[in-house]
Symmetry: C2
Subunit: 412 residues, 2 copies
Amino acid sequence: MQSDLDRLMQEAELDALLIFGPTSHNAAMVYFTGVRHVSLGFLLKQRGKPPIHVHDPMERDEAAASGLSTRSYHDFDYQKIYNKNGGDQIKTQTELLKRTFAEYEVTGRVGVYGKIELGPSFSILRTLDKALPDVEIIGENNTRSVLMKARLTKSDEEIERIRRMGQITTSVVGDVANFLTALDVHEGLLVDRSGQPVTVGDIKQKINLWLAMRGAENPKGTIFAIGRDAGIPHSAGTDTDPIPVGQPIVFDIYPCEVGGGYFYDFTRTWSLGYATDEVLAIYEDVLDVYQTVSASILPNTPCSQYQDQTCDLFEAKGHATICSTPRTTEGYVHSLAHGLGLDVHEAPVFRAAKENKDLVLPGTVFTIEPGLYYPERGIGVRIEDTVVMQPGGEIEILADFPKDLVLELPRM
Amino acid sequence: MQSDLDRLMQEAELDALLIFGPTSHNAAMVYFTGVRHVSLGFLLKQRGKPPIHVHDPMERDEAAASGLSTRSYHDFDYQKIYNKNGGDQIKTQTELLKRTFAEYEVTGRVGVYGKIELGPSFSILRTLDKALPDVEIIGENNTRSVLMKARLTKSDEEIERIRRMGQITTSVVGDVANFLTALDVHEGLLVDRSGQPVTVGDIKQKINLWLAMRGAENPKGTIFAIGRDAGIPHSAGTDTDPIPVGQPIVFDIYPCEVGGGYFYDFTRTWSLGYATDEVLAIYEDVLDVYQTVSASILPNTPCSQYQDQTCDLFEAKGHATICSTPRTTEGYVHSLAHGLGLDVHEAPVFRAAKENKDLVLPGTVFTIEPGLYYPERGIGVRIEDTVVMQPGGEIEILADFPKDLVLELPRM
């Protein structure tokens, strides 16, 4: 949680954090400011001190709305520096940071964060690193940074916001199910009242509409992948594809609060009207592993042990896995889960022990999403919920929804 | 245009471009790949050679859909490197880039681009820069980079896509006007049929809905700013505010294609029912400057001359401007315009000559958006269209819409 930050900075021997970029769709910044309408600026957080947000003067009211201490570029003679440097963004920002560091007496190890255009930032920070002998610029691993370690446990308010996004997500998933099952079937494809096949693109546009109606945003798109597409975990599906009965559809949806706040992540695999025995068998393997693994997860245990457990369970059922066949593109080909919050993928990481040492802690929000993929057979099945590890040691699914494979089609 | 890239790389003495990040909401990458569903990877463009997209194996089909040459992480033994480095993202990516550079014989000056989490990228690039004596990593100024110089002129297809976003944008603005003018008025505020005041937040949610209905996305939010908020150019407005008659409302909307493609940018200032003489006078000054300046813009001329012209015109009308009073927060406080494309703000820059040398070229797409701001008097007025400089030397507004200040309220 944010209250752990000073301790985590101490442990990482960081004297300050420097966060760049806008206050929207930028997790590191939004973690401090909330979603605001400040496009230009940076935030300085020194160890043991409250953060300061330095912003463009045109955005002063928006910056102030965060309740943080704010300073305007004007306070550092921005326009004069800008003119002196002939409008050179890199030189201007470097000088602005030098003046800020001088005024706030920033020295030592300074971690840098934020989702921002890489080129100018790289030059600014390299110059700053060379120009200030008392300062060392540190670029941390994303999933192991102090900010990510703080975000590894969520406050009650954060969990509540993710839960609300879960309610929105599952109600849109319910809308999609209702829409699909109300359609007619013609020659094995879903068709509308005029007999036209409904396409994946149609469904995706409705999803965006239904999310917008509920005040959510979908910046990363939706996976609605059928047949061979479903067999490739990150295939988003093909917009022009019609929607057939009796084939597996991987429907993975991961919207966020408007402006880039908290996410939710959710997957169901559906087969419309009926499922083939082959798909049903694979679905049952995935569901069984989902249930076994989610019943095993305990607080303060390494995430990697659940990836190992998932591989063992799938291998016992006769599937290849990346644990024993790292380059396999059939069977179980990804990690079991990932943390979730202001990024859809954040810490903890659920990979093999040799790759990470993250723990599931009380207050950690993460997905559980085993899956099996057989692209050449036109099959993919994944089941995913977002859960929180409660203080009592129980896992809670933040938004429940039926896991059934077959969606009955009354009009088939 | 993209076809200028090899020449521009030559002029900037760049041997290669290295672009990081996802293929959505990431202009530098989307410029090559289009909007796709590839979250992990990088793109290498060597001078005189076609670009190569190196991607996560789970996203192979999505990467291939761009039609570019693609390589999988697997081709460079990614999993082995990852395991050897204990899952350390920075070390793994650094090694992956080293192997890619070796295979493609990348040497010389390599420009780096992409909107991405800063910390790990900074470390990766600093390490690479030190480890490879034949390679120099270059972080260019964003608005002056070779990529931005290529994007300074748009192809017919790009202009068509921006025009289509303009049609979507103005039709949503029309919906908002229709919605507002159909409301009742009670005690000077717009109210719904049940007598409840309609708020700025209500309008913004409808805007997101109406954009989603038309297949657009609104990642940066909307400015709907009333009274004092309108007097601060980048104030987005206050969600809980009711909507009064007879006060200026700055309505600035800048949506993009789904997944982060081309933007449009558009502003009208409305006063509902009637306008005060004070607001009307300021509106007429802004409209007059808009018309005079937009009638003057010629191809192959410096953008700065139109900022100067705008300042001169406003000063002749008795308003302070940032040209003569750089820190003013009253009068004309921003630049006249900005380029627009895959970013809502891109080159060219319309600031004073000492700050930039950009030209308006045939095929340049840019905004024209003079405004006046008097926050203490509760007044802001801005009028903005997105235009293209046509080959014949004429400016074309990409989506026309009435510029009237007063929206009549039949139910007032």
